[in-house]
Amino acid sequence: MAHHFTAYEVEELLPELKASLGLRRFIDEEGNEVQKVPLGPEPLMRMYITMVRARILDEWLLRLQRVGKVALHAPNVGQEAAAAGSAMALREEDWLFPSYRELAAYIARGMNEEEILDRAMANIDDPLRGSEFVVYGHRKYNIVPAPVPVGSQVPLAVGAAMAAKILGHSVVTMAIFGDGATSRADFHAGLNFAGVFRAPVVFVIQNNAWAISMPSRRQTAAKTFALKGVAYGVPGVRVDGNDVIAVYTTASEAVERARAGEGPTLLEAVTYRLGPHTTADDPDRYRPREEAKAMEKFDPIRRLGKYLKARGIISEKEEREIWSEWGERIERIVKRCYEKPPLPPSVVLENVYSEPTWNLEEQMRELEESLEVMKELGIGVE
């Protein structure tokens, strides 16, 4: 309290402010190294393949949505580096709290295409039992399925991180969310708690320039999203989110800082949503086509591919083989998942409580009777 009526100097904050305003990158749009890449072929190849798998799956999900087999899809196209690069920085025991647009992050964390597709189709093997569309998660991988209200998972990630710390576990949590989500109460509360309690959590803002039709400069008047960390005593770092090497390196530093007890980090991955917001959106209403077109040159997969080839890690032929092999493999999985039966009607009353309460038991009987009556009246269940 002695220091209550005193002034502070700006100098101490300068390094952090610079990191929050800059744009860290290792390779440029053409795959040229602009800063020494600290990674060997193995992790680079893992990143590349993760992104390729996500891209192929993404296209399938679009197609499946069009034929009505998937209810809604939020394409990750163009943002694979931000999603994969950050999730890859986590260890198996760490926890991920993603949003709805993180296809590459699930894959980076070990979820396979079949688990993702079962989920997307809400078929009998759907791990989330037909509860919701567009979100993914699995206990096995410590991925908590996103709430559709954007940003609501942010304080959850902080709470889980605080819990890990209280229990003395060497576990880090990560929340991934969009630029739009930073406007929500949950962002504010989560960042503030993280700062005060030095929780071992990493926040990743995928600044993809848009929140549906709202450009990010209309989301906030802050210079950058990373700068918001200053308001919470949480160091911010801004990186080129389409440079998977920059994302991964920065996220890894943040994760290890957190693990070492040095507190949270706010990472802004500057990226771009090449597709529509979701399959229900029509970006032509608000975004000039040329803009998205012009942004294609920042495509993170193409960029890493170029770098890998320039560095001689893969050849053009190997690159093509990766795409075609994964293409075939995923096609086979899609077919398998496509044929699986639907979930049983009882899912609608499942998992509300640890044990059904009396009203749910009554309602289960009503549901069962209604299935009979539907037959009698000749009404289908779909």
Partner: protein, 325 residues
């Protein structure tokens, strides 16, 4: 009279009220160029500009809080919640300021904000694009709550809401946005808040319902008539608070049997208040127990929403129950 759907009717209501009264402004996520995700605000920004059609940052607490401040100052804001399922961040603003500022200020200040947004199920929208959460607002003294089931009412009720002096939660069943078309006058009219509509007269049983369930009730009443000759009176409540108790009692005086149908979960859904009102004030009219057909007491599901929501079979079961008591 032009034939329009509910989206168009709502759009005209907004446009006409904005023309009529400069104090009317629209705000929300993506309401500008995007026109809202369902296009209810389509084109408004072209006519009224970004000062009166305000694209906001992504925070419902902010949208509602700012709208309340605007209303205190003298504007008539119509705040869009992109899906009504997202309104909960604004719940403190609603419970603390919107519904109470008149009383809190001894009547010196008021905040006649209209909060509107798509509600209810039937479009495979999953857990957060399908909720019917009217009960929270009906329980909150100081708010009025409205839910139209057809374009004519949508336009007339939205106008009445905008012109009123009280905050209104205006719920739009999204499954009806483009499903129902009817003639809607171009001349100015309002549908008064607080008046139910008898959609179909009948003498055997009263079905009180609202939103998209009106159509389900009508369908089942046809089945009931053809199978058993039962004549159901179908009442579209339209205003959920203050609801038209007199219309319900009038109908029960004829029928003596009450089935309430709503999409919201059963426990403390508005059906509970209607049933309680009758049990308190008109129990002698009842020839059979009251029956409620509602969404189940579980989160709205993606899979099997048709089984989760009141469907023909469940409404039919309830009718049979009260008719055969």
């Amino acid at each position: 009279m032009p034939v329009t759907n509910m989206v168009q009717a709502l759009n005209s209501a907004l446009r006409e009220e904005m023309r009529r009264d400069k104090r009317v402004v629209v705000l929300g996520e993506d309401v500008g160029k995007r026109g809202g995700v369902f296009l209810v605000t389509e084109g408004l920004i072209d006519e009224f500009g970004p000062e009166r059609v305000i694209d906001t940052p992504l925070t419902e607490a902010g949208i509602v809080g700012v709208a309340i401040g605007m209303a205190l100052y003298g504007l008539k804001p119509v705040a869009e919640i992109q899906f009504i399922d997202f309104i909960y961040e604004a719940f403190d603003q609603i419970a603390t300021n919107l519904s109470k500022i008149r009383r809190r200020s001894g009547g010196m200040f008021s905040a006649p904000v209209v909060i509107r947004g798509p509600c209810c199920g039937g479009v495979k929208g999953g857990m957060f694009h399908s909720q019917s959460n009217e009960a929270y607002f009906v329980h909150t003294a100081g708010l009025k709550v409205v839910m139209p089931s057809r374009p004519y009412d949508a336009k007339g009720l939205l106008k009445a809401s905008i012109r009123g002096e009280d905050p209104v939660i205006f719920l739009e069943p999204k499954v009806l946005y483009r499903a129902i078309k009817e003639e809607v006058p171009e001349e100015d009219y309002v549908v008064p808040i607080g008046e139910a509509r008898v959609v179909q007269e009948g003498s055997d049983v009263t079905i009180v319902t609202w939103g998209a369930m009106v159509y389900k009730a009508l369908e089942v009443s046809k089945i009931a008539r053809s199978r058993h000759g039962w004549e159901a009176e179908v009442i579209d409540l339209r205003t959920l608070f203050p609801f038209d108790k007199d219309a319900i009692i009038r109908s029960l005086e004829k029928t003596g049997r009450l089935v309430i149908v709503h999409e919201a979960p059963k426990t403390l859904g508005l059906g509970a208040e209607i049933a309680a009102y009758v049990a308190e004030n008109a129990i002698e009219l009842l020839k059979a127990p009251v029956a409620r057909v509602t969404g189940f007491d579980a989160p709205f599901p993606l899979a099997h929403e048709k089984l989760y929501m009141p469907n023909e079979a469940r409404i039919y079961m309830a009718l049979s129950r009260v008719m055969s008591y």
